[in-house]
């Protein structure tokens, strides 16, 4: 079985401050990890993924995430948040190999105040 935990339902930050959205995972074998963002009344959009290699992954809109195998974490970060980053963020995991199933966390609502 595979699962994702996003321990925070909501994250609130001021514009210009660093933003962190936490994610931990559980999967047998090597994980494939993803972050998606959902803006109001829209479908999910891909931000970044970790498959192998460098533990620090850079993605769209200035976001990055760090894979930590010992802590089974894949936290999403942005050095300086924008009001336009306010959205719902999902972490997802898929078991390595040719597994089709992508399992999502419960989501974290990010609010960036001006």
């Amino acid at each position: 079985a595979q699962s994702v935990a996003q321990p925070e339902d909501q994250v609130n930050v001021a514009e210009g401050n660093p933003l962190t959205v936490k994610c931990t995972y559980s999967v047998s074998g090597n994980p494939y990890l993803f972050w998606y963002v959902q803006y109001p009344n829209r479908g999910l959009q891909f931000l970044l993924k970790y498959i192998t290699g460098d533990n620090l992954v850079k993605g769209s809109y200035g976001f990055e995430a760090e894979f930590n195998k010992s802590q089974t974490s894949f936290h999403l970060k942005k050095p300086s948040a924008l009001v336009s980053d306010s959205a719902l963020y999902f972490c997802a995991v898929r078991r390595g190999g040719n597994d089709y199933k992508l399992s999502f966390g419960a989501g974290t609502t990010v609010t960036v105040r001006a």
Binding site: G43, L44, Q45, F90, D99, Y100, A106
Partner: protein, 115 residues
């Protein structure tokens, strides 16, 4: 050009009715999915087809029946609708499943409200 398109975007219906949601992708992807997002925004996979073959069939009531006439289309038919079926249903697609690293492209969602 819309990559993954779903119709209808909104659907309001009475309990007991039968309804369908259609999905089409023009990305040339081989794999398509249906996800259900409940009122708490939790996303749960329902079905997946790879080149018209059912590959994921989660624990979903048999009132839900997917159908893939070709690899560019995946429709979802729901019989005898219940209040608990109210949700946003997302269609998604991904390239041929040669690697679990493939990224999903989502449609904009179809909001189903059962009265």
């Amino acid at each position: 050009d819309t990559a993954v398109s779903q119709t209808p975007k909104y659907l309001v219906t009475q309990m007991g009715n039968d309804k369908s949601i259609k999905c089409e992708q023009n990305l040339g992807h081989d794999t398509m999915y249906w996800y259900k997002q409940d009122s708490k925004k939790f996303l749960k996979i329902m079905f997946s087809y790879n080149n018209k073959e059912l590959i994921i069939n989660e624990t979903v009531p048999n009132r839900f029946s997917p159908k893939s006439p070709d690899k560019a289309h995946l429709n979802l038919h729901i019989n005898s609708l219940e209040l608990g079926d109210s949700a946003v249903y997302f269609c998604a697609s991904s390239p041929a499943q040669v690697s679990g690293a493939n990224v999903l492209t989502f449609g904009a969602g179809s909001r189903l409200t059962v009265l």
